[in-house]
Chain length 189, copies 2
Amino acid sequence: MARWDPGAEERLKRAALELYLERGYDNVTVTHIAERAGLTRRSYFRYFPDKREVLFAGSERLPPALAEAVLTADPNAAPLAAVLDALARVGAQLVEHVGGGAAERRAVIDASPELRERERTKAAAITEAIRDALIQRQVNAATAELVAQLATVACDNAFRRWIGAKGRASFGSCLDAVTGELRAALAGT
Amino acid sequence: MARWDPGAEERLKRAALELYLERGYDNVTVTHIAERAGLTRRSYFRYFPDKREVLFAGSERLPPALAEAVLTADPNAAPLAAVLDALARVGAQLVEHVGGGAAERRAVIDASPELRERERTKAAAITEAIRDALIQRQVNAATAELVAQLATVACDNAFRRWIGAKGRASFGSCLDAVTGELRAALAGT
């Protein structure tokens, strides 16, 4: 048995991101990542099932966290208001967690059809969690679907703008800006 | 060489839909579909590259058709207004084309993670085509991305509602209803 190595997971994530940027995602193997992190292939697979998931570590916690946040939002809030409140709370924690590598991670994903596909699957899981939480709040299914998809769009765009702001704007202010822009766009139609 | 068979493609699409509904998508092979349509496997592959694409026939024409419609919309229209106008025009043709099998197709896709993934890839191609057309209309990239994603949400939900209305509502009126609901949801935040 290997000794417990508290920094191993972080080193693997960092090594993967570096290699994907240097060589392109398609040209990097799990063996390369493990070597760069000073670990074995076998150690790699204790943390991640494949070479994609190292970029999405922790993302499985996002749908249940958002569902919980929607369910605990002000019971009198309208559906979209409840979801935006939930996104602001969970998103603020998320950007703490992703920290410095967010822009590099974004560039790697944007360059790979395979990774973009995986990211869309993750986004769909977020939409479903929000929709189901809204249905539990007695919102009808068609409205819950629409609001959940709208919220996912707002979240994705807010996150991209937060990355682009490089620390000069909070996630909450990016989410407010996106929401305001969506409101203005629809008001003009 | 097989003789030209003008009904073959339609028969294959119909046979695939029937079999996917009867047995479940995962339990049907290309051979089953071809047999049901009175054709050979070899004939099948003249029309479709795999067992997924038979459900998405013609979808490759949608992104360029939408891009063209966005580019030819009123030059003075705001970004979202131009895109909604394009969606209404192209969507009206689309629902003519899909005809009677739309609800069955929806049920088959919703039941299969693999098909939902393929559908998300198709939706992403629509978003990209709209975004790029807006950028050609001198819309800035961040707004073009946001409006294109919003329009894709509106289109997806309008199409689902059009299916649910079973001929009692036009695609245009479903799109108007969805747009109105999005406007009302954002006005309340």
